[in-house]
């Protein structure tokens, strides 16, 4: 997890989830209604993308956030990723 001001960035090879902790008001909507339980509340009530590997990019957390504080981005596949997937490397 990288920290950049109060913008928290969570990522794996498929997904980037950012939480703007300056704007988040800890309402809990994104956490409660995520269909895959990707998000958990930290001690301040801010969402943390603990289970980011389960994210299906449904975007509901971002669309329902009343404070424009959470963002989900699907990473475009890299050439290496596609090549590896197809087993064309050898």
């Amino acid at each position: 997890m990288d920290k950049k001001n109060n913008l928290k960035v969570y990522q794996n090879e498929k997904t980037v989830i950012t939480v703007n902790e300056d704007w988040c008001k800890s309402c809990g909507i994104c956490i409660h209604f995520c269909p895959k339980k990707v998000l958990v509340s930290n001690e301040k009530g801010f969402p943390e993308a603990k289970n980011i590997d389960d994210c299906i990019h449904c975007m509901l957390c971002e669309l329902r956030c009343p404070d424009f504080a959470i963002n989900v981005e699907k990473k475009e596949k890299t050439v290496e990723h596609i090549v590896n997937q197809k087993g064309l490397e050898d």
């Binding site: 703007n20 008001k25 669309l63 329902r64 009343p66 404070d67 963002n71």
Partner: protein, 275 residues
């Protein structure tokens, strides 16, 4: 932030003033996504509001905006649209703003079928002033002025708009967020008076007194009382009580007011020239 709707923000105004979990922010997001999908330039769009928590929306967006007096968004919007019919005019009103003090303006805007999109943020209460009941507070719910339960019947604002003469009428709720974006887009593109009523949560002024204290409880409740129109139509009468149908109620093409006005002007001028 790489979210492209932020291009419409007055960024220096954020974070916004609304309480944690307030549905107004969810609706603001939907409105901006809908506007973005039309491809309209910011300078073509005019957003007009009245007074209330909902009406503070106009302070956060980088369109031509006007925050007017309580209940009077539609008269101001009508003036703007009549002066320059090419503008895309949108009003944002709370349920009190639209249906109580502004109720008369609302039905007459629909009757004229003027090309304005009216977004009604129905949180079922006067949010800003501390939870007085509104004409859209459900019967039996509590308000600071109805501590023993509201005995009034509430308006069906969608049916009211449709019977008063509007062109497009839909109702959604903040939980089904993609659906409201879709309805708002259709309303924006409709020529004529278009209405989208959105059931929204106000965890503070409505939720606290009605034992729905958290935004999550409020959204779960909204989810439980809203039913898709086609399902609602099939329910037995006793099960309809306390439930609110959502969906599209009207989508028709009828003559629009500014066009009729222009035609009248053209006809009179033509007559004068021929004399």
């Amino acid at each position: 932030m790489n979210n492209s709707i932020t291009q419409y923000f007055r960024k220096e105004m954020f974070p916004h003033i609304w309480c944690p979990g307030c549905g107004i922010g969810i609706i603001l997001g939907s409105m901006l996504r809908a506007i973005q999908s039309t491809g309209w330039e910011k300078d073509e769009v005019v957003m007009v509001s009245g007074i209330g928590c909902s009406s503070r929306i106009t302070g956060y967006v980088d369109f031509n905006t006007m925050n007017t007096t309580h209940g009077r968004a539609l008269p101001f919007a009508t003036g703007i649209k009549m002066a320059n019919p090419a503008l895309k005019v949108i009003t944002v009103m709370g349920d009190g703003d639209c249906a109580a003090i502004g109720g008369n303006h609302f039905i007459h805007s629909a009757r004229r079928n003027i090309d304005i999109t009216a977004i009604i943020i129905n949180n079922m209460i006067y949010g800003m002033t501390g939870g007085q009941y509104s004409p859209l507070t459900p019967t039996g719910k509590l308000g600071s002025t109805a501590p023993y339960g509201n005995i009034d019947q509430s308006f069906d604002i969608a049916a009211l708009a449709a019977s008063a003469g509007a062109s497009y009428v839909a109702r959604g709720n903040v939980f089904d967020v993609n659906q409201i974006t879709h309805f708002i887009k259709k309303a924006l593109l409709k020529k004529g008076f278009s209405v989208v009523e959105i059931i929204a949560d106000c965890p503070i002024s409505f939720g606290r007194i009605n034992q729905l204290r958290t935004p999550v409880q409020m959204l779960e409740w909204i989810k439980s009382i809203t039913v898709a129109k086609r399902v609602w139509e099939g329910l037995p009468e006793e099960e309809k009580a306390g439930k609110i149908p959502t969906g599209e109620f009207l989508d028709i093409d009828i003559p629009e007011y500014t066009e009729k006005y222009q035609e009248t002007c053209n006809r009179i001028q033509q007559g004068r020239r021929e004399k």
